[in-house]
Symmetry: C2
Amino acid sequence: MIDASDPRLADYANLRDVELRKSLEARHGLFVAEGEKVIRRAVAAGYPVRSVLLTRRWVASLSDVLEGLGDRVHVVDDAVMEEVTGFPVHRGALAAMERRELPSVAGVLGGPSAEGPRRVVVLEDLVDHGNVGAIFRCAAALGVEAVILSPRCADPLYRRSVKVSMGAVFAVPYARMTDWYGGLAELRAAGFRTLALTPDQSATPLDRAVMTERVALLLGSEGDGLSSRWLREADEPVCIPMSPRAMDLGVDSLNVVAAAAIACHGLMRGR
Amino acid sequence: MIDASDPRLADYANLRDVELRKSLEARHGLFVAEGEKVIRRAVAAGYPVRSVLLTRRWVASLSDVLEGLGDRVHVVDDAVMEEVTGFPVHRGALAAMERRELPSVAGVLGGPSAEGPRRVVVLEDLVDHGNVGAIFRCAAALGVEAVILSPRCADPLYRRSVKVSMGAVFAVPYARMTDWYGGLAELRAAGFRTLALTPDQSATPLDRAVMTERVALLLGSEGDGLSSRWLREADEPVCIPMSPRAMDLGVDSLNVVAAAAIACHGLMRGR
């Protein structure tokens, strides 16, 4: 059996060390899919498999995925799995996958006259991988057709994002802006009306916002919300109406996933 | 300075060991609030303080809370804090608080003719503390006036629930059913129309459900959703309409917090 220090297992090292993983995955152009369901979705989405690390009991159910991988299939026991990855991998199977080059923002949005997405969500500097994954899952469930990330937004292909998204990160097209400052101009050029979601209750309630043919909803980071630049540049600030009692209860906002869910649901209107 | 093994710090032991904490907190009738904001909310909600464990730099900003606690204030350095709790406490201050006796379900709901909540959420067997906390935050933000828990639902006063809720667990009244089997009968007796949220797209879309004077929305557990008993017994099954493409994308449901957020938002209708 292969040993935890074998270089062929380097792709799986220290999966809970975020900083180390970020640099390792960027350097080698890889990401890690966890569990049978998510691995299957990554393969179905066309990502090439670099290798698979799994315990014996998963070999049979993943046999079709493993076929043709030859010596890039590494069957180990739980102890080796934990030694390599740094945690007990309950789902018993990991796959190291090749990243692909991301399309450009223009490529995902299409031109103003082209066929293309009509409802998109734009994430500004969300730093939590779980939140990014959860928002992709909402987007896929509720008909949002693409996600655009600001330059500093967390990586949708990071293991935790992938897992929380249930693989929706493979299914919803996305792109990363190269320019935060001018990011909204590109959305407008593609014919999108930009709605900036804010907790500010004097903004237009989302249910009453003008929804044109193409709408982009802007969502801000966990702590500070949208930057003042994006709030100012957007076509319309919109809010989710809160209970008049919420402030008395000490609750002045929703968390970003809850807000995103309500907003994605609201974007289905007029479709 | 007090030592990590001092019995006066026993309330704060191993905060990341869920099983140990559950039994310790039940036995001593305590819970732990983390961070200045949450501690203040617990105190404001009237929970008595057993003791406070904090690092020196938080003493000044919490001085009003600490007043009168005498030798139940334990100032330690980061290393002792970590040794006692088992993790680096970034928020620098913890308070052990006394639990209070929970009201009965009938006490929270009030009789059919009484003044009482008109919108409640009922959680069946949610096991994740973070999800329970997030749903309390949604409830507080969106005007849901009470939460009812099934007997096996996770504890809203567990540290992680409290933290994720941003203290909303102190502000939204809640009760725990003693009887799962007959739980819905008690809701009906109090005059509530029960809506069972299901991913089944043949159910009534939530936006078109009949909302009477008093509505209770039933939310099922993370994995399996509502039990067949509750689904069958509810007055009406309701769903959040998903994109027709979602199934093709491999997404067959929303996560429970996203669903709860959309549902709480939907319950504001007709208020």
